[in-house]
Symmetry: C2
């Protein structure tokens, strides 16, 4: 059986509880990867922070304890079997992780995602630009301390030609901001991949939180249609260390139509055939950027705050 480059998979993941070992979590990745490959997929997307629990829900003041959630190298021994199994199967993949980077002699923390091709080579890397939440603990059951534990990404919105298409990567809250997807499209993406961990109490306004599923769907469908791109969304979901996170992983066509959607809040693979050619009717007509965009009118969007 050979893998098809146009056949793409999303590996939704149920919870990574804090008590789970790295080996257990990586084994789940491998099982999902094998399922994707057995369905003929040439690529599989895992969620944001797919190697750990969503630790920004806690205030962690001990630096060594905090470091334990980060990867100082990638790949590393803890994920070696994932890389080697991908290479054996010839399947590309992408996953998110907390990155501890040494830059200009200083330590930096990022919320990062990498793209790996079917030969196990890292083909791209993105660091989350739109960090949600807060930097100081709030009076709430679960914190959302991404602004405390990560710096905003410093790689811009790069895109990566690989596996017969051009990938753009974004992460979780990035998907709600049209600037993300527009930048990726303008930089060449035909396929945007986004992993997320979305607790359903994330704003603290019940009227807003009640619409979490609708907003996830609207954001991904709008991203696809407004930019004539394929969009793959992969959730880490279910009750993770007591916090409920939404599932609803999906694959969205350039038309904005959902072509595959997860039905559980557990480990689950969804697959669709996603030809880049389906972007063309939109790019040639209503969304011909050359003919219709008016960048000289958009100055407010890049004006400093």
């Amino acid at each position: 059986m050979s893998l098809h480059p146009d056949r793409l998979a999303v590996a939704q993941m149920g919870p990574n509880n804090r008590a789970d070992s790295r080996a257990q979590i990586v084994e789940r990745h491998i099982a999902l990867m094998e399922e994707a490959a057995s369905a003929g997929a040439g690529f599989v997307l895992f969620p944001e922070l797919s190697l750990t629990t969503f630790f920004p829900r806690w205030l962690i003041e001990d630096e060594a304890e905090l470091d334990s959630f980060y990867e100082a190298e990638m790949p590393n021994d803890g994920v070696a079997t994932l890389f080697s199994r991908g290479r054996e199967l010839g399947i590309g993949f992408s996953f998110g992780y907390a990155e501890l980077a040494e830059e200009a002699g200083a330590r930096h923390r990022y919320n990062t995602s990498i793209l790996v091709d079917g030969q196990g080579r890292i083909a791209g890397k993105y660091r989350k630009v739109h960090l949600p939440g807060h930097s100081e603990p709030q009076p709430r059951t679960f914190q959302h301390l991404e602004k405390r534990y990560f710096e905003p990404g410093n790689l811009g919105f790069p895109t990566f030609p690989s596996m017969g298409r051009t990938f753009g990567i974004c992460i979780c809250n990035d998907r709600r901001w049209p600037e993300t997807h527009r930048s990726l499209r303008l930089n060449g993406a035909d396929t945007i991949i986004v992993g997320y961990n979305t607790p359903t109490d994330h704003t603290g306004h019940a009227s807003v939180d009640a619409l979490s599923l609708f907003h996830n769907q609207l954001s991904l469908q709008a991203a696809a249609y407004q930019n004539s791109v394929w969009v793959l969304g992969a959730a880490k979901c279910g009750v993770e260390d007591g916090s409920f996170m939404l599932g609803q992983s999906m694959i969205v066509a350039p038309s904005g139509e959902i072509v595959a959607q997860a039905r559980s809040v557990a480990d689950e693979v969804i697959v669709a055939t996603c030809p880049v050619a389906e972007t063309v009717p939109y790019r040639e007509t209503i969304f011909s950027f050359e003919k219709h965009r008016r960048p000289e009118c958009y100055g407010a969007i890049t004006a400093p705050r």
Copy 2:
């Protein structure tokens, strides 16, 4: 009975056939305005090019014939009764028209929309930025010659404090471009009003055109959610001079939820209560632009083509 400033109406219009007189068309506006006022609405939105047929569907080579579709002054005698009835009722309104402007001694043509307050005063004006279609006739039943008959708007994306809220205006194809709504929001809008004429054969790709209703809805819902604004959409629709245009006029809350939607492709008024305060939970949390936007990363969006 007094009109409520938070109660807003959309007056969807059925076809304006070429044979219809200006007086007939304005009478229909007035009947719709009266219905909106009787429902307590303090404002009513009419469609794009609400005074004429959607003439860009034809190649018109005679300059005088073409001029007959344009307004050289606004207000003018042909719409005086609409302005005076609005003033009597104390209802604000907005409508679109083809504008023939004299600027620096030259004639210019724009696809324009104005905002009129409850005292009959013009409170704002917008000229369509994103002109769709083509400038040369194509081998198709109905043309879409907006690029021939109009210049791109030269007023940017202004907003207008009036009637207790801040209006942003856009027109038809503008609604598909996230830059439009983002610019209006950044310029202060809490309420975006958009009129449209959307023929259901507009791209010539059956697979795209078949989704016209879905794309209209997705564009308006995304605009509202992504920018925490109220969105009012008003269609001119039904079979106009042989061409079918979609209806689906709607009012969308800042949550992205549709709170009122037209059910016909004829003259029809829909009304909803639209408190500006409903924008706040979004603007204070997930879409706090001050906390979360990263304009320094968005350079691709304003880069010259």
